[in-house]
Each structure stands twice: as C-alpha cells, then as structure tokens.
C-alpha cells in the first residue's frame, strides 16, 4: 500500500482494492505516442468536448454558484456518509429493493453471480458503468458461464474488440469508423460498411434481441438519493433504460460515495453533469428508479438489487485531504482539458479511470504499487480544477499524493540526489565556483549537443532528467559576461 499514509487498510484485508497490475504509465504513454491515428482521434474528440462544454457553460446563468453548491453538498455527504448510507438503504428496502454491502470487487461480483444463479439467469445485459469496469464484473460473470453483453454503443465496440475503454464517456473514441466497420463485419457477420448510421443500426438490431432475451440487467448509478432511495441514471442512447426496464432482475452497482441527500439536490447536479460532460443542457434520458415494481401489472423488473461498493473508498475517506477525490461525478471534463491526457490518450493510465482524476484515484483505489507513478503524470497546470463541476482541487491533491508516494518509496537514488543537492547549494552560494563550473560546462556541452538541446541519454545523472524533458543548451556567453563586456557603462 505505497500511498496509504493513514495507516488503514492492512494488507490483504477485505477492503483493500483490486490487486491486478496496472501497467507503467511511461511505457504505455510511449506506445501511445507512437500511434498518430490514435492521437488524432483523441485530440479531435477532446477538442469537441471542450468547445461544446465551454459554449454551454457560457450560456448557463448560475453555473459557478452551482459548482460551489455541489462542492458543499458532496463535502457534507462524505462527512456524514454513514448516516446517508443507512438512510438510502432503508428507503431502498422499504420499496422492495435489496441492498448488498460489498467490501471489495470480488465480494460484489460474487453477490451478483449469486443473484443470477438463484434466479436461473444466464443472459446479462449491461449499461455503461465505470464501477462495473472497476470490479471487472464481465470477466467474473463470464467465468461462471454467464453471457454478458455491453449495450452502450461505445462499450459494445470495445467489448467486441476485446479492449478497454479509453475515455470515461466515449469509451471507443480511439476507434475509427473503418475499424468499427471491420470489427462488425467480422463479429456480426454483416457486410463491411463505414457508414456510421448503418453501423449504429446494426448494433441496435443485434442488441435489441439481447435485451429481449436477458433475464438480468446490470447498471451503474450516477446519483443515489438518500431521502427517497432513488437511483438516478443519466444517458443518451436509451440502453440504460432498456437495461433497467426489460429484464426480470435489475442489479445496480454503486460506489458508496455516490449519494446526495435530497431529491431537490438533483437540480444542482443535473445542471452540472450534462453540461460538463458533453455540453448538453440535459441528457436525452434521466431515469429515477425507486425500488422494484409494486404492482404485478406494472412494467419493469420484479427484483431490484443495489450493490454498494467500498473497494478502497473507505481508505480514501479516511484521508482528509484525499477524501475530496470522492466528490467526482465522472463527467470527464478534466480528461478533455488535460494536456497530458490529450497527448497520451486514455489507455496510458492503465486502469478504468483516466486523466487527472484517474491519476488521483487509480493509485488509491487499486492499491497498486505500479500505479504510484500516475500522480507524476501531470503538469499541474490547473486546467482540471478550472473545469471540475464539483471543484475538486486535483493539482493540490496530486501534489499531496506525490509527497506521500515519495515518503513511502525513498527511491534508491536518494543519496545521490542529496549529494547533488548539497553540491548545487554550495556552488550557488559561491560565485567564483559558479563561474568556473559554468565556463567548464559551456565548453563540455558541445559533446552532448544536438539540434540546440542537450541529448544526454548517454550522460550519467543527467539522463534521468532529460529522458522526458528538453534541456536547452547553455548560451555561448553568460549574462554576467555580456553585462561586464557590453552593458555596464
């Protein structure tokens, strides 16, 4: 648990997050940088998201006030999380729903598999849910012989391709229409086309059958309303409505942090989420689901199960600084605006949450050693804070996390770094030494110069710095020299 400064979370305890490995950001980013088509797609998509958001937000009176209100509501909920969880669960149960408390991913998956087994369900349809990706639900259910179908168009493409989502909202943004065409031709047995309308229609036809046949539907939850036990799901395609209406059983998987106190608080969050995410004033559909159906003649599922997930969240909650990361409503605005995400793409982050918020929560939720370099994958430019609808101070949380990682890790080179720092400090305090060494360095740098910058991959010590940064060449004459020779009267 490299970044667990709070002392909670004994290794191997039930609430430690997933342990599967998160690949190195450096390695993944390097491979992404070598794929120009991918980077073009990411850049196009993120630019569209950013300008759509800007346009809508500019026309929304009271948007700034709503951000502040949302921040306060989230802060309040998390400080009183136990109380709101009790209230929410009581309301869900009053309305005929069942609540399951899942300590970790395997617990959540086992419960959902048991619900399926008890009801003889074999076919599962899923609407888009990051938390189900987090717990790797598909793999867990498939390994028990269930058929699982993702129904969001982007997620469906990703599932057919056997890949991972590259964006919180647009999971397949890295795939071109011709790639999707080839994939559908191969997997759905249709003639190749790169016509987007036709591809979408083919997915609609295929998935309609899956919806009608499925016995169990799995959805995520955008907001859980404590006062009424209502689950709120936002979407544009209608697949979440189908998932939560057609099968006999609906299982909603919810991170424990997703609660808001009152139905009226939705006014604030519905103002923020669609605008921040896609620049829409409202998504096509917002479903408010309160319990299972009460009249046998009603439409909709007979059973509602709400799986409330910890999976590392209580560890984040215990850290008063990092707790703020749990405010996130998964809009994706920080991804779109982030220069690092835009240059490296979503897969570089190695897990289900990408961009600045991913750099923050992946190491902490996954509890994974190899993710500890993620907090460093940021320029700390602050753009993410400016667009965050719930005002999470991501740059400052990343800094805090960096220091925790550094303290926990004490890198092997630290003695060498300490010596370098002491030497640097000495030289900077002694002008004669400074001038002498600068003159020497100015002569020696020619050996390592290429195109006006240092290429020091072969120079020991310096290579660690220049591997991923430019090191500009020293000017032929120092300012001090110019001052003495020309400027001083």
């Amino acid at each position: 648990m490299p970044v667990d400064s709070a002392g909670h979370g004994k290794p191997g305890s039930a609430h430690a997050g997933r342990q599967s490995s998160v690949p190195s950001f450096r390695a993944s980013a390097r491979s992404a940088l070598a794929q120009p088509a991918l980077l073009r797609a990411v850049s196009l998509a993120t630019s569209k998201f950013v300008s759509a958001r800007q346009q809508t937000v500019a026309q929304t009176p009271g948007f700034e006030e709503a951000r502040e209100q949302a921040h306060q509501i989230k802060q309040h909920v998390l400080r009183n999380l136990d109380r709101y969880l009790e209230e929410f669960a009581a309301r869900v149960e009053e309305r005929g729903g069942q609540v399951h408390w899942a300590a970790d991913a395997s617990d959540a998956c086992a419960y959902i598999a048991a619900v399926a087994a008890e009801n003889g369900a074999r076919r599962v349809v899923k609407s888009k849910s990051m938390v189900s990706e987090e717990i790797e639900l598909n793999q867990a259910l498939e390994s028990r012989g269930l058929e699982v179908t993702e129904t969001d168009l982007g997620e469906y493409i990703i599932q057919l391709a056997g890949e991972k989502p590259s964006h919180l909202l647009a999971p397949a943004l890295h795939k071109s229409r011709s790639e999707v065409g080839k994939l559908f031709a191969q997997e759905l047995g249709m003639a190749y086309t790169d016509n987007i309308e036709q591809l979408a229609a083919a997915a609609r036809r295929t998935l309609r059958h899956k919806f009608l046949d499925a016995e169990l539907g799995v959805s995520g939850v955008n907001f859980g309303i404590a006062e009424t036990g209502t689950i709120v799901i936002l979407e544009n395609e209608g697949n979440a409505r189908l998932t939560t209406s057609l099968p006999r059983i609906h299982v909603a998987v919810m991170g424990a942090e997703k609660l808001i106190p009152r139905l009226q608080d939705l006014v604030v969050f519905l103002k923020l989420l669609p605008r921040s995410a896609t620049g829409q004033t409202m998504t096509s559909y917002v479903s408010l689901i309160t319990g299972a159906k009460t009249h046998s003649a009603d439409e909709g599922p007979e059973q509602l199960h709400v799986v409330i997930l910890d999976n590392g969240r209580s560890r984040l909650l215990a850290d008063e600084v990092q707790r703020e990361a749990l405010f996130c409503i998964r809009c994706g605005a920080c991804l779109n605006i982030c220069p690092v995400y835009r240059s490296a793409g979503g897969h570089s982050y190695g897990w289900v949450y990408q961009g600045p918020i991913g750099a923050l929560i992946t190491p902490q939720l996954s509890g994974n050693e190899s993710a500890s370099e993620l907090p460093f994958a940021s320029s700390l430019c602050g753009a993410c804070l400016e667009v965050c609808p719930v005002k999470i101070n991501i740059p400052s949380l990343l800094l805090d996390l960096r220091s925790k990682v550094a303290v926990a890790h004490q890198p092997p080179s630290s003695r060498r770094e300490a010596m370098l720092a002491a030497g640097f400090s000495f030289v900077m305090r002694h002008p004669a030494w400074y001038r002498l060494l600068a003159a020497v360095a100015r002569r020696l740098q020619r050996l390592a110069l290429k195109d006006g910058a240092m290429r020091t991959s072969s120079v020991p010590l310096l290579s660690a710095w220049t591997e991923s940064r430019d090191f500009p060449a020293m000017a032929p004459r120092s300012f001090d020299q110019i001052w003495r020779e020309e400027l001083r009267g």
Binding site: I73, R79, L288, D310, R315
Partner: protein, 226 residues
Amino acid sequence: MTDVGIHNAFFDRIRQALAGGGKRTPAPPIPPAQAHAPGQDLGAQFGAALEAVGGRFVTVCSCSELQGYLRGLIHHHGIRSVALSDAPLLGALGLPQWLSQEVECVLPAQSHRLPFADFKRSLAQVDLGVTGCEFAIADTGTVVISSAERNRLISLLPAIHVVVFTREQLIGELAEVLSRLREPSRSAVTLITGPSRSGDIEMTLTLGVHGPREMYAICVPESALP
C-alpha cells in the same frame, strides 16, 4: 460472514474513516428555484429547447387538428402499428378509437394485461408509441413520464415516440417538478429530452441508437378536450 456481519463490517470501516474527520455539518440549504419571468410563453420555450436537440414540437387547437397532424405522421413514416399508454388524456382525446381506423394494429391498454414477456416482444414490433406525461419542463424541453401510466416501454421500444400533454402540464423548470415529485410514487420516473442519440463512433451524432429515432411533443389546450 452473515448479512449482519457484512453490514456491520462495512459501516465500521466508514465510521472509522470518519472518526478522524472534520466536524459534522448540517446539509447545505437547497438553493431557491429561479423565478421565471411572468408572462413568459412556456410553450415557445419548451419547443425551442426540444427542437434544439432534434425533437419536434407542435401546438394544436382542436381534436381534428391533432388527428390531422397524426395522420400526416402516419403517412410520412409509413406507420402500420401503434401502441398507446394508459394516460387518461389519450382516452379523453378519443385516440384509441380514432387510431384503430387509421392503422392496421393498435396495441390498446388491455394488451398490457399480457404477461410481461409477451407484452415486451409484441411492443418491440410496433412502429409508433403514444404516451402522455406528468409534466413538460419548458426550460430544457424535457417531458417527465412516470410508470404509473405504463409508458416506460411504449416511450422507448418503438422507433417513434409521440407525447401528448395539455398546456396546464407545462412547468418552468426542473426544481418545480422535483418538489412535486417529492415521494416518487412509482418505481420509475423518466426525464426525456429529445430522441435517443449517440456520438460513440468518431463523435458523430447518430439518432435512434437504442431508443426512438424521432420524438414529437404535441401540446393540446384543455379546450380541445370534449
């Protein structure tokens, strides 16, 4: 572990995490709803918002005008089958009887008494779904439907959705609707704003990916009711 044991362990972790936390605060006050200007034409506002997202809005003055509009839709789209929700307004407008003369097949309210599995399969073959709604929100062009009127699937499975409401059901903004919904009486309340849409392939807008490709909202004045 028993269910109680699992529950307690879950809450122990949450409470332990909060013990070192900040002071407990009262819930922030609910922001007051913005008063909208009196005399504002809610119908026009609703129509502009809905059409901005690809829906269609029309106000009719009489039953015969409503029938004329629907006949146009039926011809334009080659509609052969229609499903109607249980909304009392649709019955009051005489739509079930009238539609049964216009199209080959009408799934009337009674067919909902079919077992759910049969109902959903027959509905999946229907071209047009007609429902009422609880409210229409002018600010965003949103209609609010509730499963009390059995419109959850009729508004979703057919490729075309027509929603009919009266001028009295038009409301300024979401906050007002939520205060009236305070205790959601039925298991599903859905806010619908335009047709089904996706941008999942190359960020290109595609309509009707899972839900209706077309959505029409028709406002009838109370005076049109017999």
